[in-house]
Amino acid sequence: MGNGLTSDYFELFGIEPRFDIDTAELSRRYRQLQQTVHPDRYANATDQERRLSMQQATRINEAYQTLKDPVARARYLLELAGEDPEGGQGSIQSPEFLMQQMEMREALAEARDQADPLAVVGDILDQVALRIRETTSRLEACFQGTHIDVDAARDLIGKLQFLYKLRSEAEQLEADLEDELL
């Protein structure tokens, strides 16, 4: 019996399991699926159908979030291949990467004392965005068809997680600064 709850996320969306997916097509299919199962389509249905519809809509949201984001998608592909995506945490030992991180963190910590703190934070956000783009395209290169360079992918996933965290801290600081200035 075909059960939509057991198929993997790529299968659910009817797309090939690979890293460089067409995200516009993914979004299109996502909306089409939600058109079919969303609880609003069952506003007048029985409780049983409403429960099932919520489960399916939940799963489709989860699948979409996973496939849309490059890091989540890379992790998911590693899991599908039977690899542990967490293995890369210890391997971020590149002194160059750690140095960059430290420099940006310091700049962020000192931003408040600068003449134009918002401009400083803005610069950092631009730099982080650039690094995220670079790292993501290197991550893409780790997935060639069915072959995966597992070690490199883990390492880049770890780096991207660092960069995401830094970005969210910088955004929080920017928001705080804007609030204080007003």
Partner: protein
């Protein structure tokens, strides 16, 4: 336009009856109800032709309740029994409300409880009960105007409303005897009102500046699907701040002291408000202020001066808007449409500043006070089933992150804000002591790291964990948020095979028993009527189940079911039909449950097939 069909008396040609549904904007200051009639959505006026219903409820000594204009008129004379702005109290404890700076002249009891009550001459009432009175008044208005009972309503809530506030709103509706088809975010309703769901698609920004709150939402529209990408706002920013800015300016000009009497201050605010309203259409407003010593101060406030006074406030909204765009991952020049909501968007400088920021003229064609109710009515019409071919679908996000308390008073986020709902997320935790058999779980909502800075939604305890060494148990905590943004939390011990699990309804809400007892209290009739009502409701539910299943079987029963399976289902259906006619409430409930059990596989197969068909671009009908 389609030709009208005339049918023989008693023979309806309509494939289905027009079902009565309404959209309700349950506002802080005013509320409205709207409905779609002859294809047109409009707000419904009362018998005097007034569309706005002041959100004010007055309790009288004889137990009667007065809602609306009459209640508002009595506010000064009977402040303790006349409740206004109750929306600010929904889903809130006293401490939360005091924190937002709202002044509350009421006499509170149970102040420490999650659901505090207000003491009135007619007894103690909670915010939920007060809101239910407003909803009842709107329900009566709608049913009188539309000539029948409402089958369902869509109620709007601010996008920033947290789980407690949404739950409280839903409880109020139940208490008012309304079936809620959906709680809809106010900005989404506004976009629907402008028919943007029918446009080509793109990114829509909804800027909602009301009397006391500001709210901005970024939506994406694609083939009838609205996706809320991000929401942001400020719960203490709005037109009242503009009035205050003008009042302070007058005080400076007229040399009125800060510590002037209450009476003087109230009059000043009223004059300031009048000046603001004049300045929406005039270039200047003349002022004549009566001072405490009886003398008058006269002056003039120009549009230019006013614009300058409110500039900081507008800058603040623009900065929140910029941040929300970033949360949504959208550049300002990607925004295709801008929609203005809320009375304060009548101020010309607001329109101009927002137009400049987005580089396009904002939509202001629909009355900004009515636009939300109109959108809710359109959505209610679709959800109740009057437009089966309509493809409109609204995908919402949760406005605030959800998490649980961990060691050291820190919050571990489980679902981040702006995640599309419905959503479920699980996280594993463990015990920290040998032999620990219970674990307390504290659910929180908010963006900050410390428990004290977030809103507590409730606590519950998972008991019956098998004794193990510290760190060996695996307790999986699952958060499920439904399409209305309502949360349920489950905890389950995984390793032992013994599963202890508990589902909570966070502590601020009302339990089903409480709602039932409130309903009972509010019914003037005896207990038998209550029973009769429950029986009637259960019969409606049985009909719903039987109708849905009959339609499904006719459509694809042969495709999905073997002869035996179909026989099983049909004999359960006969049994339920019999119970429906002759059984008690409990017996009908049981009949529904056992029918659901036999057709569980069938219902699931149907839905899975519809998913696959959606992906292969075919409809179920094409198989026939």
């Amino acid at each position: 336009m389609a030709l009208l069909q005339i049918s023989e008396p008693g023979q309806s040609t309509a494939p289905h009856q027009h079902r009565l549904a309404a959209g309700i904007d349950l506002g802080t200051t005013n509320s409205l109800v709207a409905s779609v009639r002859s294809g047109e959505a409009a707000t419904l006026p009362d018998e005097q032709g007034r569309h706005l219903l002041p959100s004010v409820v007055r309790y009288l000594e004889d137990g009667n309740v007065v809602v609306g204009h009459e209640a508002r008129a009595a506010e000064a004379e009977d402040p303790l029994n006349t409740i206004s702005s109750v929306k600010r109290l929904m889903g809130r404890g006293i401490a939360d409300v005091v924190h937002t700076g709202a002044r509350l002249p009421y006499e509170f009891i149970d102040v420490d409880s999650a659901v505090p009550k207000i003491h009135t001459v007619a007894g103690d009432v909670s915010a939920i009960e007060v809101s239910a009175e407003i909803l009842k008044a709107l329900r009566q208005r709608a049913e009188r105007t539309l000539g029948g009972e409402l089958e369902g309503v869509v109620i709007t809530v601010p996008a920033y409303f947290d789980d407690a506030q949404r739950q409280a709103t839903r409880d109020a509706a139940r208490l008012a005897g309304l079936k809620v088809l959906r709680l809809l975010n106010e900005p989404t309703a506004a976009a629907v009102a402008y028919g943007l769901d029918r446009s080509d698609g793109g990114v829509i920004a909804v800027y909602d500046l009301g009397g006391g709150t500001f709210d901005v939402s970024i939506l994406r529209l694609n083939r009838g699907v609205f996706e809320v990408l991000a929401t942001g706002g400020d719960t203490a920013l709005g037109g009242d701040d503009m009035d205050r800015a003008i009042a302070e300016w007058i005080m400076r000009q007229a040399g009125i002291a800060d510590d002037s009497g209450h009476h003087q201050m109230r009059r000043l605010m009223r004059d300031a408000r009048a000046a603001k309203e004049t300045l929406t259409s005039q270039d200047s407003a003349s002022l004549d202020i009566e001072l405490e010593d009886g003398s008058h101060w006269q002056g003039e406030l120009t549009r230019e001066q006013f614009d300058e006074l409110i500039e900081p406030l507008i800058r603040k909204t623009v900065s929140t808007t910029r941040r929300t765009l970033r949360d949504a991952g959208v550049d300002v020049d990607e925004v295709n449409e801008v929609v203005m909501v809320g009375g304060s968007t009548r101020v010309p400088r607001v329109r101009e500043a927002i137009g400049d920021f987005f580089g396009r003229v904002p939509h202001t064609e629909i009355d900004p006070d009515k636009v939300v109710a109109i959108g809710a009515a359109l959505q209610a019409d679709v959800l109740v089933g009057n437009k089966p071919e309509d493809e409109m679908l609204l995908l919402d996000v949760i406005p605030l992150s959800l998490g649980i308390e961990t060691m050291g008073g820190l919050v571990e986020k489980i679902i981040p804000r702006n995640t599309t709902i419905p959503v479920a997320r699980a996280q594993d935790f463990t015990t920290y002591k040998d032999g620990q058999t219970a674990m307390s779980i504290h659910v929180l909502q908010g963006e900050r790291e410390m428990v004290d800075d977030c809103r507590s939604l409730g606590r519950f305890t998972l008991r019956g964990i098998p004794p193990m060494v510290a760190g060996a148990a695996r307790i999986r905590v699952t958060f499920q948020v439904d399409a209305d943004g309502l949360l349920s939390v489950t905890a389950e011990e995984q390793t032992s095979g013994v599963q202890a699990s508990i589902e909570i309804k966070p502590s601020y809400g009302l339990t089903d028993t409480e709602i039932e007892s409130m309903l009972r209290d509010s019914m003037e009739h005896a207990r038998e009527d209550m029973e009769a009502r429950r029986l009637a409701e259960q019969r409606v539910e049985a009909d719903r189940v039987l109708e849905a299943l009959t339609a499904a079987l006719a459509e694809d029963g042969d495709r999905f079911l073997s002869v035996d399976e179909r026989d099983d289902i049909e004999s359960e259906m006969d049994r339920l039909a019999d119970l429906r006619a002759n059984g008690t409430v409990e017996q009908i409930k049981e009949g529904i449950r056992s029918l659901e059990k036999v057709c569980a596989g069938y219902v699931e197969r149907r839905m899975n097939t519809s998913i696959r068909d959606a992906m292969s671009g075919r409809n179920v009908e094409e198989f026939e």
